[in-house]
Structure formats: structure tokens, C-alpha cells
Subunit: 137 residues, 2 copies
Amino acid sequence: MQTIEQLLELKNIRVTAMRLLIYKFLVNKQVAVTLSDIENAFEKADRTTLYRTIKTFEEKDIVHQIDDGTGITKYALCEQGCSCDINKDLHLHFHCNNCNETICLTDHKIPKIKVPDGFVSENVNLVVKGICDKCSR
Amino acid sequence: MQTIEQLLELKNIRVTAMRLLIYKFLVNKQVAVTLSDIENAFEKADRTTLYRTIKTFEEKDIVHQIDDGTGITKYALCEQGCSCDINKDLHLHFHCNNCNETICLTDHKIPKIKVPDGFVSENVNLVVKGICDKCSR
DNA sequence: TAACAAATGCACTTCCATTGCACTTACTAT
DNA sequence: ATAGTAAGTGCAATGGAAGTGCATTTGTTA
Ligand SMILES: [Mn+2]
Ligand SMILES: [Mn+2]
Ligand SMILES: [Zn+2]
Ligand SMILES: [Zn+2]
């Protein structure tokens, strides 16, 4: 078990107050968040800083982007020891049409998809839409 | 084999010059198009008209939307006799990381995706990214 | 051909994403 | 410790895509 400080150092980015705060915010979230979610949580911080922080996290494979089809990019922490850097986005994402939340189904891996001859598959984005467990009962 | 006029009448929308032109433009395209692709093809027409035309086509299941993760919505003609209206988007889409084009793999159907207990799957968006056949050879 | 409904064009708006530049903070080498 | 440098932050502005209100034009139907 490593501290957040150790993680950031490992990824070769500086430990700053904002980064620690944003990281902690993400850890506590069970769902993928938008930039404005973060913005609302940190009203005193500047949008740009939040934006660039999340972009840095993304580059360093601390978070991954999720395009759930709502048109707004969402982000979620990568799992400890995930291989985001090698094969992008292995797991599938679920978007609830009722509560509008998107969650990582980290242990539901994306099946191998066949593509026609001549096509080379590099990675796959799979979003299932429907009703989440909270909303279905 | 039906004419475009007959198709539009079948869908209960009026036959207009713009609609015929846009439909013909889409037929000739092998790849999914953005609104600005259409805009560039019809510089004399107003953006709003093109926008509302494609929206009408979408409502009437003449075209379907494709979210390929680029952040820009793309559209492609539905196949003759497709069942877009019943089960949305059965086939998968391929987005080329090289030429940036997106194509329908109409005869590659999306496999059944398992979701955890409590989750209800209503539809699925699956985009494979990689290198297309034109770019790989 | 008159009357009505639908389609089009123009202007404007909103929302998210992104950038340039000045200023501040953190690290490093003396 | 301190100065110098690189990275991080805040503010202001921009750009692009999507969407809407309203006046005008076009198509349909009685
Ligand atoms: Mn995820
Ligand atoms: Mn398609
Ligand atoms: Zn829900
Ligand atoms: Zn290509």
C-alpha cells in the first residue's frame, strides 16, 4: 500500500496541494466524474488548474477518460496496477439512463472483437447503457 | 428498389430539394460524416437546415448517430431494412486512428455483453479503434 | 388559389474544451 | 540558506460544436 505522495513521485510529477486534494476526491467517488463535478467540489480553485490536473493524471495513467456518449468527458481513477498505458481501457463502462451516472465495471473485461481482414484493432471502447443497480430496485 | 422520394414519403416527411441532395450525398459516402462534412459539401445551404435535416433523418431512422470518441457526432445511412427503430445500433463501428475516418461494419454484430446483477442493459455502443484496411496496406 | 403546416435562413446563445501569458510555488545546484 | 530554473496555477480569452427563437419561404391540401 502506497501513499498518494509516493504514487505521484513514482509517476514523476510533483506533489502539490491541488493534486492531493483532487486525487482524494476521486478515490472517494464510486462513479466517473466530469470536470464540472470537480469544479463544484473545489469552488475556490480555478477551472484551468483542475482541467490541467486531470489532463496530467490522464497522461500519467492515474485516471482514464470515459466517453459514455453523453457528450461530456468523464474521468475515473485507474485501478492499482492497471495497464492503461499498455492496452487502453480493458474494462467496460456502464451508463445509467435514469440517474445519468457512469461507472467502471472493472472486472468485466471487454471480449475479443473480430474485425474484417485488413483492419487492425488497437483498442476498444465499450459502453453499455441501461438501468444501474441502484435505479433498478 | 425504391427511389429516395418513395423512401421519404414512406417515412412521412416531405420531399424537398435539400433532403434529396443530402440523402444522395450520404449514399455516396462510404464513411460516417460529421455535420461540418455536410456543411463543406453544401456551402450555399445554411448550417441550421443541414443540422435539422440530419436530425429529422435520425428521428425517422434514415440515418444513425455514431459516437466514435472523437467528440464530434457522426452520421451514416441506415441499411435498407435495418431495425434501428427497434434495437438501436446492432452493428459495430470502426474508427481509424490514422485517417480519422469511421465506418460501419454492418455485418459485424455486437456480441451479447454480460452485466452484473441488478444492472439492466438497454443498448450498447461499441467502437473498435485501430488502423483501417486502406491505411494498413 | 387561399389557408395552413412544414421547411428554411439568419441571428443569437450556451456549453465544454483549450490556450496564452503573467505570476507563484516547488525543486536543485551552488 | 539562497538564487536560479522548471513546473504549477490563475485569469482572461478563444474556438468549436450543438441547439433555439423567430421571420420568411415553400409545399400540401381543401
Ligand atoms: Mn473505467
Ligand atoms: Mn453504423
Ligand atoms: Zn442509475
Ligand atoms: Zn484509415
